[in-house]
Symmetry: C2
Subunit: 338 residues, 2 copies
DNA sequence: CTGAAAGCGCTAACAG
DNA sequence: CTGTTAGCGCTTTCAG
């Protein structure tokens, strides 16, 4: 029923070793035989069994990509970039969605290990070195993208979270804001922590009061962005400006702000980490736009270097985000009930 | 270095066959041996090599999920539902994103076949029976979710695209609209075609004129929704109501409408297939909410029945969408430049 | 340059 | 109930 390498070999009048060599582009095969093999492969429409191949060669041509939330369009672009690079190399991407759940992450990392994938790109769900180190121990290269694992030496490709946040907050301060709130992702996620540090440093450097009450954190999802923003704005806004630490949080914050009938930027000014794509009628606000495609691309390139056996010391690549703002909007909100 | 089944066997003082039986929950093993094996597995922290297992047993415990666009939050929920069911069964999900690209789809389907996955759930990129039939021929069960493949007998789990669209359009007609535009996905995608048919039938049944010029189609992505909506609305709106065929198209349409300074629903009324989650300040509009979690869940359940050997005739499950509307919005648009 | 033969690590068939 | 044996389909020595 299914056609095997020995069928191809017979059809081409060679040994299966030769077929194997041809299909893996190994040298030392006469051109004539190569052609005969290619013809036989086509004639029989032979597809090598990748499971057998992986077992024998102890490595597959699949890489694992472990991310925390496919709803996040930032990751979306990262996934796309990684897929693009992988395709070029003839690798496929096994996409694993952890939902910010460390147990799911562990499950998937073990699975990828047991599947003998060639390498893994991960955006760790929580500070959790042990999860990834089991892969490293199994000699499977791992690259962290977007988030890193503290106190764990590994290849990373990140954006300048602290600096970009610092700039966003400094701009708010320059506009005269003195009470700036922040809704961030859990500080055990490195992006949350680093963005928090940029926020805090900007406030301290400007000689303003830093108040812990104005900083709330949760999961980087819209629900938490909504809930925590309400906490900062109800019953009476404690703040005049709000820093939101990720695109989904920003979405939730926007919902909260408009539900309360507050106007942006008159009542509350907004600065967001991440740009919101394709959200209709955004208000005047500023944001840090991450180089998401570039992050994914470089992470993939780094991974493939490792897969090819590169042994140089761990690389830590930083690609800066761009600070931008929406200065014009055709839409005006008349949300406040008079 | 890596611990093998025979290491576990030695450690437990049994044969590797026994270890294998214990780990696969096969019957006929004394409880005492079972315990010794479990202890040895724990002691050595043994993880079975899934590649070897798959090769030998000719089936893996991974299912493939081939979807067209992970940016679409409808698929997101579908993915989540499928993952939930798979987890319960001890299976993992290999997520493949085709980007509406039939070649990428073919690449992934071949890969999944070569990886000997236990089954595949697919939302086909285009009408393309051959892609999936190669899996079926290889005896890998395939279930279509959301979209089907015309003229191809297979298990499907879909929503009532035609009926729900018919209802949405009928409601618009009941409100007095006579010129209703539609921006749909490519009619070679079954959801696009079926939603179109509901639209057309509603118009004809109401005795209105059906005009092909008012129906535009493209890919189900925000860019196309934006571009095509502009075509219907510029330089002068040809229509008083717009039917958008998918969530991303709706997003693009909203952007177009607001950029043109049109008010919803005063200038143009909007009916969307798919609800938009977490989009701040939606206007008054109606939509068909797909039972996305349920679709994914039933597709997964159907697939696992097939994996367990069910041979009943192809199932075609339809789960209806809910027609709903946003009747109240705290936000008022003052977009029109006077 | 090519073929024969030996496994990769596991599970299924067959004895016992 | 348990162990021994024989492969799954491929790649990789090792000869020639």
């Amino acid at each position: 029923m299914t056609v095997l390498i020995k069928d191809v070999a017979e059809h081409a009048g060679v040994s299966s070793a030769t077929v194997s060599r041809v299909l893996s582009n190994k040298p030392h095969v006469r051109d004539e035989l190569k052609e005969r093999v290619h013809k036989a492969v086509a004639d029989l429409s032979y597809e090598p069994n990748r499971v057998a191949r992986s077992l024998r060669s102890q490595r597959s041509t699949v890489i694992g990509l472990v991310i925390s939330d496919i709803r996040n369009s930032f990751y979306n672009t990262v996934v796309r970039a990684i897929e693009d690079v992988a395709f070029e190399k003839g690798y496929a991407v096994f996409l694993c969605n952890t939902d910010e759940n460390p147990e799911k992450e562990l499950f998937y990392l073990n699975l990828l290990k047991a599947e003998k994938v060639a390498g893994v790109i991960i955006s760790p769900a929580r500070e959790n070195a042990s999860n990834s180190s089991s892969l490293t121990n199994a000699n499977i290269p791992v690259v962290a993208v977007d988030r890193r694992i503290p106190n764990f030496e590994m290849d990373t490709v990140l954006t300048n979270n602290t600096e970009a946040s610092y700039q966003l907050i400094s701009q708010l301060i320059a506009k005269g804001h003195k009470r700036i709130g922040a809704v961030l992702s859990d500080l055990s996620i490195t992006t949350g922590r680093e963005r928090f540090e940029g926020y805090k440093q900007a406030i301290l450097d400007a000689g303003l009061d830093f108040s812990e009450n104005l900083v709330l954190s949760g999961l980087p999802i819209a629900e938490d962005g909504y809930r925590l923003s309400l906490d900062l704005l109800e019953p009476k806004p404690l703040i005049t400006a709000l820093f939101t630490g990720n695109e989904l949080i920003t979405l939730g914050a926007l919902k909260a702000i408009y539900e309360l009938g507050l106007n942006i930027p008159e009542d509350i000014e907004l600065a967001s980490f991440d740009k919101l794509d394709w959200i209709p009628f955004l208000p005047k606000m500023s944001f840090a736009e991450q180089p998401s495609y570039e992050l994914g691309k470089q992470a993939a390139q780094l991974l493939f270097e490792r897969i090819s056996g590169s042994n140089k010391e761990p690389q830590n690549i930083i690609i800066p985000s761009k600070i931008q703002s929406i200065t014009e909007t055709k839409i005006k909100m008349v949300a406040k009930t008079p």
